[in-house]
Amino acid sequence: MTDQEDGAMTSTTQDQDADAERARREELLLPELVAHLRDNRTQLRREWANRITDANLLTAMTPQEVFSEATSVYDNYVGVLETGSVEALQDYARDLSERIVPRGVETDEVVGIVLLLRDVLARSLFEKYHNDFGLLNRVLDAYEPAANRIANTVAVSFVQERERIIRQQADALRELSTPVLQVRERLLILPIIGVLDDQRADQLTEQLLGGIRRHRAKVVVIDITGVPDLDAEVANHLVQTVDASRLMGAGVIITGLSPEIAQTLVRIGVDLTKMNPVGDLQGGIEEAERLLGFTVTRTSADDA
C-alpha cells in the first residue's frame, strides 16, 4: 500500500516536470507558428478564398468582397494565435456580422468559412512539419485549441448579432401590433393581424382591459380575420381575456374566425361560444350597435 503510494507520488512529480518542459517548448512553438502563417499569408489567403468559392459559401457577396473580408479574418485569426486574446476578433466578427446579416448570409456559411480557414491552415502545417511527426503533433496541440476558440468566437458573435437584429425587429413589430380603436361611444374594436403567440396574446389582454377602462367600453369587437392560426393555449388565453372583460363589465364579440381556425378549435375542443362569435367584422359591429342601442340609418336613398 505504502509502496504504491510512493510510486504514484514519484510519477506525479515526473509528470509535472514533463508538463513544465512541454509548456516551455510550446511557448516557443506558437511564435514559430505565427511566423509561418505570416510568411505564407498571400498564398494561404488565396487558397482559403478559393475554397470558399468552391464550397459555394458567401454567394451573397462578390468575389472581391469575399477576398477583402477573408484578408481581415485571416489577419485577425493570426493575431488571436499570437496574442491569445479574442477581443479584437470579437469586435471584428460583430462588425462583420452587422454588415452581412442583412444580406442574408446564413449561420452555416459563417461557421463553414471559419472551419475552412482552420483546415487550410492545418493542411499547411502538415506540409511544413510532415518530416517530424512529434513536432507536428506538438504544433497541432498548440494550434487546435486556439483555432477552435476562434471558430467558436466568430460563430457566437454572428449568432448574437443576428439575435440582436431579430429582437430589435420583434420590438418594432410589437409596438404596432395591437391597436385598440373606439368606433362608437362605448364600443371598441381590436383588429388583430398576424400570428398570435403567447407574448402577443398577453399584450392583447393588457391593451384590451386597459382600453375598456380608459374608454369606459361596454362592448369590444375582436376581429381575427388576419390571424392564420390559433393553438389551444392562445385560444384558452382568449377565453380568459373574455372572462376578465366580463368582470370589468364589458361584453366581447369575436369576428372573422377563418374556416381553418373554426375546424382547429372544434377539433381541439376549445369552446369559444362564450365569445359571441359573429361571422365578419361588419356583422360584429352591427351586433355591438344593437346591444348598445345604436341604430344606423342612411340619410339619403341615393345609393340604396
Binding site: 377602462r213 380568459q240 370589468m248 363589465g249 346591444l291
Partner: protein
C-alpha cells in the same frame, strides 16, 4: 354570524345609502374575519333600509382570493333572498386577469364603475337613481342603453 374581529376596530368598508340602493366600498384588502363582518353588516342593512339593490365597489382592491370571491358570491345570494339585486363594480384590469387565471368564477353581475352599476340596477329594478317612485320596467338585458 358572530364577529371574529375586535368590535372596536373600524370596518374598512363604508356602506352608504342611495335611495333604495346600498353602496358598499371596500377600501383595502380585507382578511377573512373582516369579510364575514362586512357580509353580516350588509345583509342586515338590506332589511333595515328596505334596499332593492346593492353595489359593491372593489376598485381599491388589487387582489381577491378564493375566500373573498366566494364571500362576494354569498353576499349576492343572501341579498337576493332578502330582496335585493347585487352588482360588483370597479374590478381593475389586473384584478380581473388574476381572478381569471386563478379560476375564480365570480358568477355575478359586474359593471365597470359606480355609474354603470347604478345604471344596471336601474334596468333591473326599474329606477335610475334608486328613488322609490320609479315603476318596475321590463328588465333590459345588459349591456344597457347609453344615455
Amino acid at each position: 354570524m358572530p364577529d371574529r374581529d375586535v368590535p372596536s376596530e373600524p370596518l374598512r368598508v363604508s356602506i352608504l345609502t342611495q335611495g333604495s340602493y346600498l353602496i358598499a366600498s371596500i377600501h383595502t384588502a380585507l382578511d377573512d374575519g373582516q369579510l364575514l363582518r362586512f357580509q353580516h353588516d350588509l345583509i342586515e342593512r338590506i332589511g333595515t333600509q328596505r334596499s332593492r339593490g346593492v353595489i359593491i365597489d372593489v376598485a381599491a382592491l388589487d387582489v381577491l382570493d378564493s375566500f373573498g370571491s366566494r364571500t362576494l358570491r354569498d353576499i349576492a345570494r343572501m341579498s337576493r333572498l332578502r330582496g335585493a339585486e347585487t352588482v360588483i363594480v370597479g374590478i381593475a384590469p389586473e384584478l380581473a386577469m388574476s381572478m381569471v387565471r386563478l379560476g375564480l368564477d365570480l358568477d355575478l353581475p359586474t359593471a365597470l364603475d359606480l355609474e354603470e352599476g347604478l345604471a344596471y340596477l336601474g334596468s333591473r329594478t326599474g329606477s335610475r337613481t334608486g328613488s322609490r317612485t320609479g315603476a318596475r320596467a321590463g328588465g333590459a338585458a345588459r349591456p344597457g342603453r347609453p344615455r
